[in-house]
Amino acid sequence: MAQSLSASDVSVSFEGLRALSNVTLDVPRGKVTGLIGPNGAGKTTLVNVLTGFQKPTGGTVSLDGESIVGVPPYKVRQKGIARTFQSGRLFADLSVLDNLEVTGVGLGLSRHEAAKKADRMLEWIGIPHLAERAAGGLPYTDERRVAIGRALMLEPKYLLLDEPAAGMSAEEANDLAQLIRRIIAEVRCGLLLIEHNIGLVLTICDHIHVLDSGEVIEVGPPALIKASERVRHAYMGTQAETEGAVL
């Protein structure tokens, strides 16, 4: 059986407006899959479909061959699909440690076990000193790391990162790229990276899907995407902008 998170011919409509149209995407284990596209292309809608927050109006979503359409989000997480959000969405009134513990208890651990795992995760992700800080009001990059740590608790099979580099400097984005490589090397999950930072995506993804107006317009390895005229026109505009974005 294929070890992958797959969307097949997925469509989503909101009161007649087509947000996704026959989208097919495959996130294999141990690889980084990129998902790019201009604002409003349907990227987050697709992530919502993959994680149970949005029921597709057509098509199927399967986890290692098993359909997960209609499965509520908390069960999707329990089955091993973790995600982060564009806006962080940390539990602001809880400490950073508690933020990670929540995933532990959500997945069935006792508080003691969850706290131990959370401590280890904070250590692994490089922010153990933040354990007892309030999650609300953390600096942006720390917030992103906490969100990733929370999603990584109990080693999910698939991790969906929704614009993790948004607002980061080049140096911070580079740190994030290193973290993503560590995740793939050590956690060995399948990773779907939704990102506007094209340089980051082209650098670390094994395979990239390009969405535009709810449709997949190109699929392939970074070199192919980089060379695609269609992607340039639909997503990046002029050639000059493309070169700037890639760099």
Binding site: T51, F53, P72, P73, Y74, R77, Q78, A82, R83, F85, R89, L90, F91, A92, D93, L94, S95, L97, D98, N99, E101, V102, T103, V105, G106, L107, L109, S110, R111, H112, A114, A115, K116, D119, R120, E123, G126, I127, P128, H129, L130, A131, E132, R133, A134, G137, L138, P139, T141, D142, R145, R150, A151, M153
Partner: protein, 356 residues
């Protein structure tokens, strides 16, 4: 990496401090010993039970419930049915089952039955309601209160309808109320530090992210709703035994407003806030009651107009909401200075500019 102390080891001082505060009230009752003063302390302990009961659900879930006093009504009538003399029941409440009509239990069994009955009712209502969120959930809980009160106000043969049910054994000693208040504080604390309590507070902060973390929000809400319903039932039973008489009207908007006010004033998201809100507002209410009755100053008697206490509670609530929306405790827990824990109540603010 050294093992972090358990959540119990990091937070146990909070319930201890709260129990000490309740203990001071109990000692005051023992020291003063007068009937009216004891009755005031009993009222405070009953309110602690009710407001902590509200906290278990509202404080942890963030869903405002206007219906919990309905479970208080259920508890009050349950203990009345079980502990009144059979002769009184046979003359006034003929519709009760024979096994209840013919028997009389000690009040302790009445309290236990009230907890179970109200808890089961909360579970049944919660199974339907806990899928709702926000204002829809709040209005639905109010509908539950309205249904309970209407049933109890009209089921003549079982509840006496709007007539007072009299003859409930009165418990005048203070310590049973004190012990119940302690028990409720400990139950609320245990729930608060449990997996379910943590998951529920996460859902309160960010429901979407909690779902994405594997939290089954309706289930966690239902657990809290059931526990808090049982506690409210206990509060109702204690109330019934404190005055010896119940009517459905007692358990409606007035009590709903006062208990919610106490929770808001103390700090809705903290157990300490629930207890302190009761103590502080009860003191204000008692002072105003005395002043409504009249105070002699220099031979002249001054009395506030009746109803001032309700107005004062409203004013206090508005002032708190304006200037301290997170309550007197700022939603923090009371902790012993050497046992300060971040992540408890309200954790430390992040260090400025600290990045990784």
């Amino acid at each position: 990496m050294a093992d972090r102390p358990s959540i119990l080891a990091r937070t146990w001082t909070t319930p201890v401090i709260l129990i000490v505060i309740l203990g001071v009230l109990q000692l005051a009752a023992l020291a003063v010993g007068s009937g009216p003063f004891n009755q005031t302390i009993i009222e405070i302990f009953i309110r602690v039970v009710l407001v902590v009961g509200l906290f278990v659900f509202i404080g942890n879930s963030g869903v405002i419930s206007f219906g919990h006093i309905g479970f208080t009504c259920l508890g009050a009538y349950m203990t009345a049915w079980l502990t009144m003399l059979p002769a009184i029941k046979k003359s006034k409440l003929k519709g009760l089952p024979d096994i209840i009509l013919d028997n009389k239990l000690a009040y302790g069994w009445g309290l236990l039955a009230a907890v179970i009955f109200a808890g089961l009712a909360a579970y049944a209502a919660g199974k339907v309601l806990m899928r709702l969120s926000g204002i829809a959930a709040s209005i639905a809980t109010f509908a539950v209160l309205a249904v309970i009160i209407q049933v109890y106000s009209n089921w003549d043969s079982v509840t006496g309808a709007q007539s007072s049910v009299v003859g409930i054994p009165i418990v005048r000693v203070v310590w049973p109320y004190f012990l119940c208040a302690i028990a409720v504080v400990l139950v609320a604390y245990a729930h608060q530090i449990s997996r379910s309590g943590l998951a529920l507070r996460a859902a309160r902060d960010e429901a979407t992210a909690a779902s994405a973390s594997g939290v089954n929000i309706p289930r966690e809400r239902l657990i809290a709703f059931t526990i808090s319903g049982g506690i409210m039932g206990l509060g109702g039973a204690l109330f019934a035994h404190s005055v010896g008489v119940v009517t459905p009207d007692t358990f409606y908007l007035g009590l709903t407003f006062i208990t919610l006010s106490m929770l808001v004033v103390g700090g809705m998201n903290s157990l300490s806030g629930a207890v302190l809100g009761v103590v502080i507002l009860s003191i204000i209410i008692q002072l105003l009651r005395w002043m409504e009755k009249g105070v002699d100053i220099g031979g002249a008697s001054f009395a506030l107009p009746l109803g001032v206490q309700e107005i004062a509670i409203g004013v206090v609530m508005i002032v708190i909401l304006m200037y301290r929306p997170s309550g007197l405790t700022k939603n923090r827990e009371l902790v012993w200075p050497s046992n300060k824990l971040s992540g408890w109540g309200k954790p430390k603010a992040p260090a400025d500019g600290k990045t990784v």
